[in-house]
Subunit: 326 residues, 2 copies
DNA sequence: CTGTTAGCGCATTCAA
DNA sequence: TTGAATGCGCTAACAG
């Protein structure tokens, strides 16, 4: 490995000068600079980021804790965040994160990251406290079940978005609308269920308790399993909204297998607009979650917090994409 | 931030002892150990990974260079690799990687990673040389266009896999089979085109040059755009295989819009088996790429290389999933 | 069994 | 405009 010392020797200067040249942190005579640059070139020298991180107390690395990378929505979000992080020269770690791992988290991230993104996670108070003490900002993309002051959130106004979707369905004559939620009370998708309830109220529709389905997890299969039995009942909801698109796709699949016609017998809608949603049969009506924008804002907020600038929660606007499933 | 020094002071020992306790690297009297552990607990001390990395010349961080995170196949692969990396206490960076960034790569990764995974990339010789000098092993999941000795590859025997798929199609009466490839000659999917050519030969079928379509990139839309015009021609191939599933989905979408019946008028098959492929109309026949296994093996090979154990290229077996599109 | 000490590669203060 | 020297937090060789 080439070190600054070797570069300095070859250029006939001290290591400090090499540092000055590299970081533009001090005036260096043009000729000296040239010599140093040349030595760097010849030796193929590159700064050792570990050493720099130790000295600077800054790693330029960020962590993304992700719930379920199998979900293209979250994968897409991750991708967008990375895109913007890269622009600011931050490297991104990602970790699929289960609660069991939380205790190890502090050890794993200590001295490794300058900030943490949460993609569908909530952390426990003592974990939060630890990162607060270390001055590691936390930005959450999704509203966690329990809010904490140091976690800044980027999310949609789900009540507003669902209300708009409900109006669309109402306009087509639907009165009894079901919702596909998720069982785990800690799961961040719970927030969307709450929002849906409020939206139904706003739109003066009754959300009956047995019109809320609780899948075991957010995947396609779990929604398929949960919805399929209910599809044979004669008296039922005429539309269903799903807390995420993967589960909505599961509903579409169940309808196909039960020969329930979409949208004539049942209208289906999703909440994220992943690519798959445009390819199901029929293509799905969805709330288009602005992943691109959210990624950008998330990084923006993260930068602000790292620089100790104030950073408030951000609510973004989605759009409604009407396709054949409604 | 709590340091080892503070822990040592509180426990009334030297920092070395704290190190010994933490790393189990030296015998410590039970009572002393207890005191140290308690001090650590009380202070909420965690090891600073940056300092450790500097000292040990080992970061326990790995990079994944990924071509197109928008592709669920690659996202899935990333997920699997992360899963296995985590088991061995490695953190994973990922970077969506474009050629323009290659020059910056060395600077970005220097001192940050112990190894690099390539997901559909080829690096230039001087980049490879740099990492070779630093003893940073490189493992590629996909066969790059130009092979290099220090890059170990994990891939399928695509010729074998495509031959099996071709036999399936042949058994259903197909003789003229087209292929959806990708234009960029540097793109790793070129390898699959070459394999398909050989497989056709093996199966004694003629692959006509204008039955090979070259999409501009590997996405759904690009395949859709490329295939759509050709669907109206009366005399044409009766089956098409796509180098990846996203493009196969694009073909299915084009057939839908052109009212070409699948599989009666055209059989379609993909090469990876992403979730979406089971939800298109009709669901697609695909080669099931064993992402789980590949992730495991990739990490295994990486560990071997990091420990300077010999590590040969690995060829894994896929399975054929027959669905309604063929 | 425990303490002292010498770096790892870098940024930076202080002198020159 | 440049150099010498210090220390970031950690590991491990060596001495006791």
């Amino acid at each position: 490995m080439t070190t600054r010392k070797e570069v300095a020797d070859r250029a006939g200067v001290s290591i400090a000068v090499v540092s000055y040249v590299l970081n533009d942190s001090n005036y260096v005579k043009e000729e000296t600079r040239r010599k140093v640059l040349q030595a760097i070139e010849e030796l193929g020298y590159e700064t050792n980021m570990a050493a720099r991180a130790l000295k600077m107390r800054k790693t330029e690395q960020l962590a993304v804790l992700i719930n379920h990378m199998g979900n293209p929505h979250e994968a897409g979000l991750l991708l967008r965040i990375e895109e913007h992080a890269a622009k600011h020269n931050y490297m991104l770690f990602f970790q699929t994160f289960q609660k069991e791992k939380e205790s190890k988290l502090k050890a794993l991230l200590n001295g490794r990251v300058d900030g943490i993104f949460l993609l569908g996670q909530s952390l426990q108070e003592d974990t939060l406290h630890h990162f607060r003490k270390q001055n590691i900002p936390i930005v959450s993309v999704t509203t966690p079940v329990t809010r904490t002051e140091d976690v800044t959130c980027i999310d949609l106004d789900w009540t507003f978005e669902y209300a708009r979707l409900i109006r669309l369905l109402k306009a087509k004559g639907h009165k009894r609308i079901a919702f596909m939620a998720i069982r785990d009370p800690e799961h961040p998708l719970q927030h969307r269920l709450g929002a849906f309830r409020r939206a139904m109220e706003t739109e003066r529709l009754q959300l009956e308790e047995n019109d809320v389905f609780y899948a075991d997890e957010g995947g396609l299969q779990s929604a398929y399993d949960k919805i399929k039995p209910s599809l044979s009942s004669p008296d039922r909801y005429t539309a269903i909204v799903s807390a995420n698109d993967l589960m909505a796709a599961g509903i579409v699949a169940a309808c196909r297998d039960r020969a329930v016609h979409i949208p004539n017998e049942l209208a289906v809608a999703g909440s994220e607009d992943i690519l798959m949603s445009s390819q199901t049969a029929p293509p799905m009506t969805v709330i288009h979650y602005p992943r691109e924008k959210v990624g950008e804002i998330a990084m923006e907020v993260m930068l602000a917090k790292m620089q100790k600038r104030p950073a408030a929660d951000r609510i973004l606007q989605a759009t409604l994409v009407e396709r054949k499933s409604s």
